[in-house]
Symmetry: C2
Subunit: 225 residues, 2 copies
């Protein structure tokens, strides 16, 4: 059984890929070079893909910078040390339509592979501020996908979007990662690493990761700046 | 009032843009360089965008060839003179997930522009074989978009997908194009033009266009090979 697995190289998507492999899927990993500031994550994605023995790893170039509007792709400062203050509303690191675009490409590949399973590492707890991480969004995409594809129209196998992390907080993800054999040292989470790829330790993503390891009672092997 | 208008440079999307302009929208035209065989259509899109005085015309590079699977992007021959035989099922010129990907980008731009209207020139009559041209698909995308975006989550203006050609056949589109001021000579429909951009006159798209002009009682100004 084949599955297309969205893989950023971060802890969440790596764990998600590990779950897909544990559940017996032949995995096809899909990453995006979308002008992100933290391009080092693509190297992490390649290492994780190799670590989990995926059948194929594709990196698709897409230009989300063309539209601007996010601290992850535009010249807007990545917020630091703000997690504890409780972020209100939607974070500035939100990239417009990112998950919709990512899932659309995953759907295209799944259609060509004749595969009916897509894995995405969204979680609704820590990222409740991102509209396109919520279960309602994923359900709506699944509905769309089954109207958009040949397989859907011809009544063959329907596409399922798997979100094994949906109900986990970061500590839960760290524990699951350990269970499914993620090599933590290969993963990369920071939104604003230095040139050597060392995580900053202060952006939302670093703070969440550190909190997750702390609560799970594990040590994060990454060297912070 | 702003609108993002998907514009391929073909007769349908050009007419759709003309309708948006007629209805008083400030238009932002969005085209894609997706490895199509018929790249000449991007020149047509630029001419049409200029003709209709759009505020901005963006051409986004995306690589749908990465997945293969369609006669429009892969090394599969474009079918010729097959329209009259009645194509069964989904045409080989169908590009997996194309409209889903196009609409996802349109949604991203609309979000950054703070605009709540997207125009797409799908028609359900002539392209009934393409799953992602059907009204159910468009409705599902609209539903998704309103869950995927900040504006949707924050309860601000909801996104609407306009499909003014949905219920028209090609002759109806030719007549509407005339009404809204499309310059037919600027549009390009062929899936398999020669190097100078002359349409082949034999692919599905050329056959449909010629039939449309014939039934509308108008002369197509394009020079066929």
């Amino acid at each position: 059984m084949k599955a297309v697995c969205l893989l950023s190289g971060g802890l969440d998507s790596s764990t998600c890929l590990g779950v897909a492999r544990r559940d017996g899927f032949q995995c096809y990993a899909l990453s995006f070079d979308y002008g992100q500031r933290h391009k080092i994550e693509l190297q992490a994605a390649a290492s994780i893909a190799w670590h989990f023995g995926v059948r194929e790893h594709k990196v698709i170039q897409i230009d989300l910078r063309a539209f601007g509007g996010s601290a992850l792709t535009a010249d807007i400062a990545v917020p630091k040390d703000s997690l504890e203050q409780g972020t209100q509303g939607i974070p500035i690191t939100y990239v417009p339509a990112r998950n919709t675009i990512f899932l659309s490409y995953a759907m295209a590949w799944a259609e060509v592979l004749e595969c009916s399973d897509i894995f995405i590492g969204v979680n609704a707890i820590d990222y409740s501020g991102y509209p396109d991480c919520r279960p309602e969004f994923i359900a709506a995409f699944e509905h769309l996908a089954n109207l958009a594809t040949k397989a859907g129209v011809e009544g063959r196998t329907l596409l399922r979007i798997h979100t094994p992390l949906a109900q986990l907080d970061k500590a839960g993800i760290v524990k699951l990662a350990l269970d499914v054999g993620v090599d933590f040292g290969l993963t990369h989470s920071c939104y604003d690493p230095d040139r050597e790829g060392h995580p900053c330790g202060h952006c939302d993503s670093c703070l969440l990761r550190q909190k997750g390891f702390r609560e799970a009672g594990l040590v994060d092997p990454l060297e912070y700046q």
